[in-house]
Amino acid sequence: MRETLRLSWRVALRHWDVYRLNFWTNISPMVSDPAFLLICLGIGLGAYVTDVGGMSYLEYLGPGLAIMAAFWASVFETSYGFFVRNTFENVYDAMMTTPVGADEIVYGEFIWVALQGAGLATGVAVVMALFGVVDPTGLIAIPFVGAATALATGAIGMICSGLIRSITQFHPFFAVVVNPLFFFSAVFFPMDSVHWTLQAVAWINPFYHGVRLGQAALWGEGLGLAFLVHLPALLVSIFLLGWLARHLIRKKLIL
């Protein structure tokens, strides 16, 4: 067990080594996306949408965008990123010749997306706190919410990587799976005002639970509901999706 953790950590370090090499290339879209959305939607659209549950649209949008950074980073890392490393760059083939095994490759990937998710969500939230968009006292929870969200949505990306056979098959995955997860997540509008079918989509969407946790922390309200409902829901989805992802990736790495 200890050895598994140690080796998984080394796999995660490999990803950090590579990420670091092109640090600004890697991090710039993760920072610029929330910034543009905040400006265009928060300020632009926000001029027309003046009241969302008692707050300005800019304030509504803030926490969701922080968690969104963790979402996109983890989804890309475990879908395109994983698939390319496995199929075209032989990264895992090479690692499999060392004491690292399929489990450590999967756990290493999870450790890496969790750390990346924690860092990115916190980074974005801190910047927004500096501009007074979100409540700074809630910042302490954001690394954990970012990491947990990244674990769950990263597992979804990994499940897809485990299922597809050619890289073009990511197109329908992004169109049919990732987009609904992204839009029906309460980042852009509260889900309790929409038709129940869409609410149902949100409830099975781990990203939604992550966003709700982030909102609870950074708005400083709805903490009870967050702890009793969204946190357990997110943890359960991490467990279930993570288990499935591990199973599928193992089948891919060990023939």
């Binding site: 370090l13 690692m95 010749t97």
Partner: protein, 303 residues
């Protein structure tokens, strides 16, 4: 002591049987060769040894451990050079090796030194800061050797180590293999080059269509399967059918000419003198003759 022990090992992928039944044993300190045509199941066997492919049946022990159950225990003592090199192309040469040194558990304080020492051994020090894609095929293969040696393995597995390389690199790699063997490392190698197998392997096994076909030292295989001398006649120098049959030798034909296998050089000399032709080649039989006899010349659909 046997390092690898395989008995009736079998692997079925969905609907294809890659390995039907293979038995072999690699003994401590030797260089053991796996020979076979493309698609014979060599790479599948190699992958089973380090647990990247799980066997369907039979028994396999590496250092007494079942790699299907404890691949990590096996891999701790293995160094592997894969056919496709499998280098991490997102990192430079030295960074790459440092990362792998971490994965095989070289203590932090020794990593740099170990990597530099091996880069030097494989004549790669001058490319330590290059990107992987800038390296030639020979350099990539040498780097794959560096990676395989990082963890000071007891068993070195080489899957077609010199395929596609120029003669100078082949020679360099052969020298290194011989040197490593002298240091006590056991070597398991697959190859398509019969000269490589004859030169490096103490014992070898020929597999075809997923089955063990013959095993022994190169000398013994030649003695048992194709002893003697081959006289090859090309074009107009080919003697008549009666003359050939009268020699009592074994006759075969292919694109390159007519081959007559005889027990000894004296027999061959007599024939050549009697026919009086200049256009003949006389050579001792070699492993290639054995290989072609055992695996058959025709290409099967799987190859």
């Amino acid at each position: 002591m046997s390092i690898v022990c395989a008995s009736q090992v079998r692997k079925v992928f969905k609907d294809t049987e890659a390995v039907a039944s293979v038995d072999f044993e690699v003994r401590e300190g030797e260089c053991f060769g796996l020979l076979g045509p493309n698609g014979a199941g060599k790479s599948t066997l190699i992958r089973m040894i380090y647990g990247a492919v799980l066997r369907t049946g039979g028994d396999l022990r590496v250092f007494g451990i079942d790699p299907g159950e404890d691949s990590r225990g096996v891999k701790r003592r293995l160094g592997i050079v894969l056919q496709e090199n499998a280098l991490d192309e997102e990192m430079g040469v030295r960074a790459n090796m440092l990362m792998f040194a971490r994965c095989v558990g070289v203590p932090r304080a020794e990593r740099g030194e170990r990597v530099d020492e091996l880069l030097d051994l494989m004549a790669l020090s001058h490319r330590a800061n290059a990107q992987i894609r800038e390296l030639s095929g020979g350099m990539k293969r040498r780097l794959a050797f560096v990676r395989a040696l990082l963890g000071r393995p007891d068993l070195l597995i080489l899957d077609e180590p010199t395929t596609g390389l120029d003669p100078a690199v082949r020679l360099l790699l052969w020298e290194k293999v011989v040197q490593l063997k002298k240091e006590g490392i056991t070597v398991l190698l697959t190859t398509h080059y019969m000269d490589e197998a004859e030169r490096l392997c103490d014992r070898l096994m020929i597999i075809d269509q997923g089955r063990s076909q013959a095993e022994g030292s190169p000398r013994k295989l030649i003695r048992n399967h194709r002893p003697g001398v081959v006289v090859t006649f090309a074009g107009q120098s080919t003697p008549s059918e009666e003359d050939l049959l009268a020699t009592g030798g074994q006759v075969s034909r292919d694109m390159l000419g007519t081959h007559l296998r005889l027990p000894s050089f004296q027999d061959a000399e007599q024939i050549v003198e009697r026919i009086g032709s200049e256009h003949v080649i006389v050579r001792p039989t070699n492993l290639e003759d054995v290989f072609l006899e055992i695996t058959g010349k025709e290409l099967t659909a799987d190859a």
